[in-house]
């Protein structure tokens, strides 16, 4: 299976989410449900970060929306494959779409691959291993009773830092938007604004600036997914 080395690399990420779910007081069943239905590591991580009792329904939903908006262009980019699927295969393929399976599918598509089942196969493989790792993390975290503020939770920041590395497209494109995103999030956070407002404001301030610079710089660019 082509996704094998990949889900070995995702192991610590899943374990962290499981441990964090246990630390935030989510039961085994609740963690299993969130992981299998939402199936989006970054969104789960951000939502867990702002988790409280009673559950922050609106904040968690908004956080998931903001974090996962990035997946919208992925489906459009894979349209040449997806157009050949019908019914549950089409909507099931879309349900298992994640950054990793997208990256692999795009690479396969560019290499001339014509098998649309590649996306669903990889997606399902990642889904199964993801749910298993998170649940293992939840069991381990429940046993160890990891206290809040433990250095283990640096793993959440580490996960996003490592995701950022391949996203960097060079200083000319990304330096200013990223700087503004960080500063605005920091200012909103220091001002004591409730989560996920700092994340929301930082993200759209940075991305808005980036888009504005791009359009001003070279007229209207074409759609490059």
């Amino acid at each position: 299976m082509a996704s094998l080395p990949l889900w070995v690399g995702m192991l610590p990420f899943g374990v962290v989410i499981g441990v964090l779910s246990a630390a935030k007081g989510l039961s085994f069943a609740e963690t299993a449900l969130m992981t299998s239905l939402v199936f989006a590591g970054s969104a789960q991580l951000v939502a867990l970060e702002l988790w409280a009792d009673p559950a922050p329904v609106l904040a968690a939903t908004i956080a998931a929306l903001v974090v996962n908006l990035r997946m919208a262009p992925m489906g459009a980019a894979l349209a040449p494959w997806l157009d050949r699927l019908r019914g549950w295969k089409l909507w099931g393929s879309l349900a298992t779409l994640v950054d990793h399976s997208f990256a692999m599918a795009i690479a396969e598509q560019r290499a001339g691959g014509r098998d649309a089942g590649y996306l669903l196969g990889n997606g399902l493989g990642i889904w199964v291993s993801w749910v298993v790792t998170v649940m293992a993390g939840h069991l381990g975290g429940g046993l160890l009773q990891v206290p809040p503020g433990h250095p283990l939770f640096f793993a959440a920041i580490a996960a996003f830092l490592s995701i950022l590395v391949p996203l960097w497209r060079g200083a000319r494109v990304d330096a200013l938007p990223w700087l503004v995103a960080g500063l605005v999030a920091l200012a909103a956070h220091r001002a004591g604004w409730p989560v996920p407002l700092p994340l929301l404001l930082g993200t759209f301030a940075g991305a808005g600036l980036g888009a504005w610079i791009e359009l001003r710089g070279r007229g209207a660019p074409g759609w490059k997914p």
Binding site: M10, P12, F13, S27, E30, L33, M34, V38, F39, A47, P54, A55, V57, L58, A60, T61, A64, L65, V67, N68, R70, M71, A72, P73, G75, A76, L78, L82, L94, A95, P151, F154, A155, I157, A158, A159, F160, L161, S162, I163, L164, L167, R169, P177, W178, A181, L183, A185, L186, L201, G202, T203, F204, G206, G208, A211, A220, P221, W223, K224
Partner: protein, 104 residues
């Protein structure tokens, strides 16, 4: 097997918007070309999102967290494996945390 109604509601809310992003992108963006500004905005979204997420806790973190952050980025550039980068970063942060007598 505890399943509280408020937690269930939050999970369903997250699942719903997440699936809307996945499927909606295909269903809508392939039929309708969004204005260039929206397209550019979507391209910039992931990077800005993760930067906005990590900045406040990074600055509040102190020396062990800063050292761990550098290690994560260096390992990710070197081996291109998220798992390895996370493990190396946590090990350094945890080690420094213990060495500096901060507990853990």
């Amino acid at each position: 097997m505890e399943l509280r109604p408020d937690v269930l509601l939050a999970i369903l809310g997250m699942a719903l918007v997440t699936y809307a992003c996945r499927a909606g992108g295909y269903a809508v963006l392939r039929a309708v070309r969004p204005p260039p500004f929206v397209q550019a905005l979507l391209r910039h979204l992931p990077g800005c999102l993760f930067v906005a997420y990590v900045t406040p806790p990074l600055l509040a973190g102190g020396a062990p967290v800063w050292a761990g952050a550098v290690v994560v980025v260096v390992v990710q550039i070197a081996v291109r494996n998220i798992g390895a980068a996370i493990l190396a970063g946590v090990a350094v942060t945890w080690g420094l945390h213990a060495a500096l007598g901060l507990g853990g």
